[in-house]
């Protein structure tokens, strides 16, 4: 029988290999799923892993999806390392989009624009995301309320607030009653990186954030204290590292990054406020963070994979006649696979009678 035997020491190799194995396992599940549904697994594979990156336009779309995933995943990596289980990044993204979008709409009178005003909108978006995250942090800090449930409830509240605003205060008066704001003028949109594509400078910001995130976690004292608090709360307390500070730092950083991601969506590909500003980036980023080993550089790899899943899902609708909801199925399978493969860090498989 196949048995799990405890390893004397956790395997460093497996801890690196496990995300790769998990992706492989997810792909295998995908092949089985495609075959079971009577679609050619080969076509399925090419739709998810070749077509999205077959030309420059494809790459630019992948980059467009990587930006929000990467931004949020870096924030979540910091949260999860501090043992703060913030699963409401989607809500922080939505409020960031609302705040950033509202400021951009207010500033945009058709005659001005430019880097400074865009930066102001981005700052407003970050502040919005931080404020939303601060609610969870405050209720956890002051009242000991479970951050998982509070942050998740706030996702629904945030989405309803966005819906309320685009149906009311922020609705385009000349939009024939459609629940959406007016389009931002081109001076308020993020500069395009590659001509003829939608790829904007958000990806550069995300890459910079991922590098800064690495410096913070691996090279700063504050990041060190935060991680000790996550791994060994008692040791952290003995050393005098403040758990409250870790909670607030990680939540506020994550909120700011999610808010930035939301604003970049509004000032980027969407160009206006609509009732839905995110196809679940905030939740997908949880998986991205775990598959990237909660490492600001590791999430680069996993956000790329997740971006492929998103685009593959969209393509499979046109190419295979399959609903794009298939993306959500693969997201779930990927996290399951990772959790299962992670067992091999502490155990090895062996045959025994």
């Amino acid at each position: 029988m196949l048995k799990l035997e405890p390893r004397p020491n956790p395997s460093a190799l497996m801890s690196w290999m496990s995300p790769l194995l998990a992706v492989l396992l997810t792909v295998m599940c995908g092949v089985v799923l495609f075959a079971a549904l009577g679609k050619s697994p080969l076509t399925g594979l090419s739709v998810f892993f070749l077509e999205p990156i077959k030309d420059l336009r494809g790459w630019s779309e992948v980059g467009l999806k990587i930006a929000p995933l990467l931004l949020i995943a870096v924030g979540l990596a910091i949260c999860f390392r501090a043992n703060v289980f913030n699963i409401g990044a989607e809500g922080q993204l939505v409020i960031g989009a609302v705040a950033g979008g509202a400021v951009a709409l207010a500033l945009d009178d058709g005659s001005r624009g430019g880097a400074l005003l865009i930066a102001a909108a981005m700052a407003a978006g970050m502040a919005g995301g931080m404020a939303w995250a601060a609610i969870t942090a405050y209720l956890r800090d002051r009242f000991n309320a479970n951050e998982i449930l509070v942050s998740l409830m706030l996702v629904y509240v945030a989405q309803l607030l966005l819906s309320y605003l685009v149906h009311g205060a922020l609705r385009d008066p000349e939009g024939y009653g459609f629940p959406q704001s007016r389009l931002l003028s081109s001076e308020f949109l993020l500069p395009i990186l590659v001509p003829q594509t939608r790829l904007h400078i958000g990806i550069l910001i995300a890459l910079l954030v991922s590098a800064l995130g690495w410096i913070y976690l691996a090279r700063s004292f504050s990041g060190f204290k935060l991680q000790v608090g996550g791994m060994a709360p008692l040791a952290a307390r003995y050393a005098g590292f403040s758990a409250r500070k870790s909670l607030w730092t990680s939540m506020l950083v994550c909120g700011a990054l999610a808010g930035l991601a939301g604003t970049a969506e509004v000032l980027g590909p969407i160009g206006q406020l609509t009732p839905s500003v995110s196809p679940g980036y905030g939740f997908a980023a949880i998986i991205v963070a775990y598959v990237g080993r909660l490492h600001p550089i590791g999430v680069l790899f996993s956000s790329f994979i997740m971006a492929l899943f998103y685009i593959g899902g969209e393509l499979s609708q046109s190419r295979l006649g399959m609903p794009s909801a298939i993306t959500g199925v693969f997201q779930g399978i990927l996290l399951f696979s990772l959790l299962a493969c992670d067992i091999l860090i502490h155990y090895k498989l062996s045959w025994r009678k």
């Binding site: 209720l139 309803l160 009311g168 199925v329 399951f336 959790l339 299962a340």
Partner: protein
């Protein structure tokens, strides 16, 4: 019949109707947590059960089959969750989250062909009792599942506090190593608890798509799985308080629908926030006293147990 009776009685009936899925799910989660396992996958199980139950009912024309299929699909997912957390020792929180994300995707995928289908709105009433003025309308014209959920609540309370098996289950949740050293198979007991929880969440999901709405909309569970998780804390892990909490939340939900009819002119989106805000308020109020929570919470909640360690 005077005006207050004719408006209040249907509101009470609707609140009970809206509270029932919360109670069903929360009772299942209560049993999970009494055995020491948190299943954050409640939302996902409810979503899958909602579409599976709906699809089966559409094809078989039988609500009973729909409920059974919903319960079975919940058990299937819960069984998978048990395999991962109880046998393979994966983190309960992350695994539950994966289940919720998977359930959201899978239900949306399965449900594509069923969007727009609707079921006949069936009416039930208990003979004689339904004719009582006020109470008849408020209490005795519910779907049979509502009464079943009340029996379930009483049954869970009786099981936990009046049977030997319930005592063993609580022992496993408080101290799995003690239960293990007394010869109880902790993993099997947790599996049984999780399967029961899955079945309950399945019934709750099926109730939403078969009785409450009754149709399939993507993401229709709308956080009720998470609210049910909060309810177990709110109830400090007591079945009777789950009942009170569930109906209270049912009442809040219904008020949001009827507020405009009652002359409150607030945008529907803001009113729809109420159940979520109420959940946060309740969590804050109940969690303030950390010692009280600690006293009532199963001691091994969220911690995995491996017999060889």
């Amino acid at each position: 019949m005077d005006a207050s009776v004719s408006t209040v009685a249907p509101l009470i009936a609707a609140a009970i109707n809206a509270g029932t899925p919360l109670m069903l799910a929360a009772l299942g989660l209560l049993i999970n947590e009494k055995s020491g396992v948190v299943n954050l996958g409640a939302e996902g199980m409810m979503l899958v059960a909602a579409i599976v139950g709906f699809a089966v009912t559409v094809h078989s024309d039988s609500v009973t089959f729909g409920f059974l299929a919903g319960a079975l699909s919940g058990m299937l997912l819960a069984g998978f969750f048990a395999l991962m957390t109880v046998w393979l020792g994966t983190n309960q929180y992350a695994t539950g989250l994966a289940l919720s994300l998977f359930g959201a995707g899978a239900s949306a995928y399965i449900g594509i062909d069923y969007v727009g289908n609707s079921l006949a709105n069936s009416r039930f009433e208990i003979p004689l009792l339904a004719d009582i003025p006020f109470l008849g309308t408020a209490l005795f014209k519910q779907h049979p599942m509502v009464y079943l959920s009340l029996f379930l609540c009483a049954g869970v309370a009786w099981f936990l506090y009046r049977t030997r098996a319930g005592l063993v289950l609580r022992a496993v949740g408080e101290s799995p190593s003690s239960a293990h050293s007394l010869g109880y198979d902790v993993r099997r007991i947790r599996l049984a608890a999780l399967l029961f929880g899955g079945a309950c969440c399945g019934l709750a999901g099926a109730f939403l798509s078969l009785v409450y709405t009754p149709l399939w909309v993507e993401g229709m569970v709308a956080g009720r799985g998470w609210i049910a998780l909060a309810l177990t804390t709110f109830a400090t892990w007591r079945p009777a308080r789950v009942l009170i909490g569930a109906y209270l939340f049912g009442g809040v939900t219904i008020l949001t629908f009827h507020a405009q009819g009652l002359g409150v002119s607030i945008a529907s989106q803001l009113l729809s926030m109420l159940p979520y805000l109420a959940t946060i308020v309740v969590l804050v109020l109940i969690s303030q006293n950390a010692n009280w929570i600690k006293l009532n919470m199963p001691a091994s909640l969220g911690k995995n147990f491996h017999p060889s360690r």
